[in-house]
Assembly symmetry: C2
């Protein structure tokens, strides 16, 4: 393949003509696909349907502690669900875990909101401070950034490296600026790049020396068991690392089964030091009469233990791996050697991250939409929705079936080529 940058103006013009014709054909197909969010596909959902039979009208609805899950009580979750979630998070003691309802995002929102209104372990509420800042490794998860933006928290972009966030920068900000109160992290198979933090990165996180006593790492361990391959990437368990480093209270960890059973109908968990957990429970006692313990029981009876969870996730992998590989195959085949884009090859998680030529992402996403394929909005992976290079695009290959996925991938590479040619022509 000849790299586009090496083409003459004439070659580019002729390429443009061909691509435009192909694009008109593609538009004619009337595609209507949504690749904007990391949604499980139908096959994954169908595979899990037997969870619906686990609790029927004959079931014993008492949990291990003997409490009736159909009535009030056990605000912080049933014991067996705490154990399941703590094992899933790498063997945290169950007493450091609170099991919530259906959404880890809600826990993160609540946690930030509480820091804003009431502070952290007795510190000044963030709403009383002139300035509060969060570090935002980017590209990252748009919904994290939406939470901090909503509360008027200043977001500072931290570049991602293949080992995780740029830790030199993180250490500098955290140790020097007391207005820096938090950092958003997806440590395993990060959204959207699929990067797993190196052991060194995790340990540098645990050893941070924050200028602010109320600095917290928001550790969104969303994909802890979402491996695509038998050979998995693993991260050190952050709570014990923080404790070893003398920072036991510095991390809030979040986890969820939304992409394990049913999206939005799973269970979610929070883990932290004893002190943080006690503080959280104090607020929970005002916020709620407790979460849905029946759904917690349903999940534990279905999976039994973390081995059951992992066996289930191997079935997910068997469904998802071909989807990731199909998209990567099209990218390799169609864009390899053209010098107009780079992409990640994740070994887990829900996304592939694509780096277009600078200034092309928005135009590519718009082109895709024009022909019926909705991608995540360009820029969404950066704070304030602004990608300074306008180059990152998040690809979510999990939801479409294989036929749709092939059509979408073909369209995507076509749009990348077309926008890139236009860009190069404009530069000539």
């Amino acid at each position: 393949m000849k790299a586009y940058r090496e083409m003459s103006r004439e070659e580019l013009l002729s390429r443009k003509d061909e691509l435009e014709k192909q694009f008109e054909d593609a538009k004619g197909k009337g595609l209507k696909l949504d690749m904007s969010r990391g949604k499980p596909g139908l096959e994954q959902l169908d595979m899990t349907m037997d969870i619906m039979d686990v609790l029927d009208s004959k079931a014993d609805m008492r949990c291990e502690e003997g409490v009736d899950t159909r009535n009030y009580g056990l605000m912080d979750g049933i014991s067996e669900a705490k154990h399941l979630m703590s094992d899933m998070m790498g063997g945290i003691p169950a007493e450091n875990v609170i099991v919530y309802g259906n959404s880890s995002l809600s826990i993160m929102y609540d946690t930030v909101s509480r820091c804003v209104t009431h502070g952290v372990l007795g510190s000044t509420p963030w709403c009383k401070l002139d300035k509060v800042k969060f570090l935002c490794p980017a590209p990252g998860y748009d919904r994290h950034f939406s939470i901090t933006e909503l509360f008027g928290i200043e977001m500072i972009t931290i570049p991602m490296t293949p080992e995780g966030p740029d830790m030199d920068l993180v250490e500098k900000y955290v140790s020097e600026d007391p207005a820096v109160k938090g950092i958003w992290c997806v440590p395993k198979y990060s959204n959207p790049q699929g990067i797993t933090y190196s052991d060194e990165t995790v340990r540098r996180f645990a050893a941070l020396k924050p200028a602010a006593e109320d600095f917290r790492i928001f550790w969104d361990n969303a994909y802890s068991i979402h491996d695509l391959y038998e050979e998995q990437e693993d991260i050190p368990e952050i709570l014990s690392e923080c404790e070893k480093a003398g920072n036991p209270d510095m991390v809030y960890e979040f986890s969820s089964l939304s992409k394990v059973t049913f999206s939005g109908a799973g269970i979610a968990a929070f883990a932290a030091s004893r002190k943080n957990v006690e503080e959280t429970k104090k607020f929970m006692a005002v916020m709620t009469i407790g979460y849905d313990k029946i759904n917690q029981l349903r999940h534990v009876r279905y999976f039994k233990n973390v081995e059951g969870l992992k066996a289930h996730m191997r079935k997910h992998a068997a469904i998802l791996r071909p989807k990731f590989e199909a998209v990567l195959g099209v990218l390799d085949k169609e864009l390899g050697g053209l010098g107009i884009g780079e992409w990640t090859r994740p070994r887990g998680g829900y996304f592939i991250s694509f780096e277009a030529m600078e200034g092309c992402a928005k135009a590519i996403v718009a082109k895709c939409k024009e022909a019926g394929v909705v991608m995540t909005g360009a820029g969404a992976t950066f704070p304030y929705g602004k990608d300074p290079k306008d180059s990152n695009i998040r690809i979510a290959p999990t939801f479409p079936n294989s036929e749709e996925l092939a059509a979408a991938a073909d369209l995507f590479v076509l749009c990348v080529k077309l926008v890139s040619v236009e860009k190069l022509l404009a530069e000539c």
Copy 2:
């Protein structure tokens, strides 16, 4: 029966002796009962178990709109759940309703929290104001008061009348003081007195002329279908009343099925004007990926419509009515004519409210505890947990079985008598 106040010191002393002996006997029985919270009883929960069969592994999991409830989407609830909840709230248009997760208390907390951090429809966030006040009709629901207390909102007690809160006072505070931003209401079968607001009271609420543009009525319609008798008490639908009175945005309504199916595993709803609902959705889009739609579907498929709900609640009434009547029977028989207490005779809801002689409530609750029966803490029904007269006690007769209930009621009246005698002797 001779009223205690008319007894001589000698009569009281002899009465005290008898009662103390009876109390020692009661302690010897080793009771262990919790009457502190409004929890459904086992029979109610068992009666509902067939809801667990409604969605099994063969079920069609798509809602009316064709959306798969097992995946993300429909943040504000599935359409049929909106209709069910809107009908339950008295025929509100479904577009004015948002269906949430398992807890209406959480919705109230979130709503207050959002007013604190972001204000109401563009007004100044309450956290930026020097003083925010809430009116608290009392005796009232302790968990309401806990929310406003947590946010440092000054609570002003409003006396209850048989028609609802003292509306002269409410109107005065709301129209004169711009720091008054809200009022907590349980309009039907109020917690704990079981008072249903009169039509006149509801209309005076709707016609309030608040000094603060961001004043909101927090209308916790918790017991809208929780009637004990065929002949029900009803209230005018507040949203349309507010609209008629030119105050369409002045009310937030809350509702839940926690005491219809399973406590903490039902579904909850929020209703308000279009403007309020739009604002709420804007924040929800940051807070969550949506609530548990499968549980929403389970509830709608089980009840089908509001008639199904009402039929179900008649079965609850058949279980609960004898419990209420048993307690009332013991109160009538044992305390009638003694002049040491008054009690309500609710036609619905979850509580009976008892007014002891001034200064006796804490002592009565302590005595009950000493003999193994835990009541709601005295004072809990007032802001800051402080009953100025120390006289109100909330009785929750729903959870114990009939045998336990009889034992608990006997103990309760015994403790009332004993504490009252001691009080009168101290005054002699």
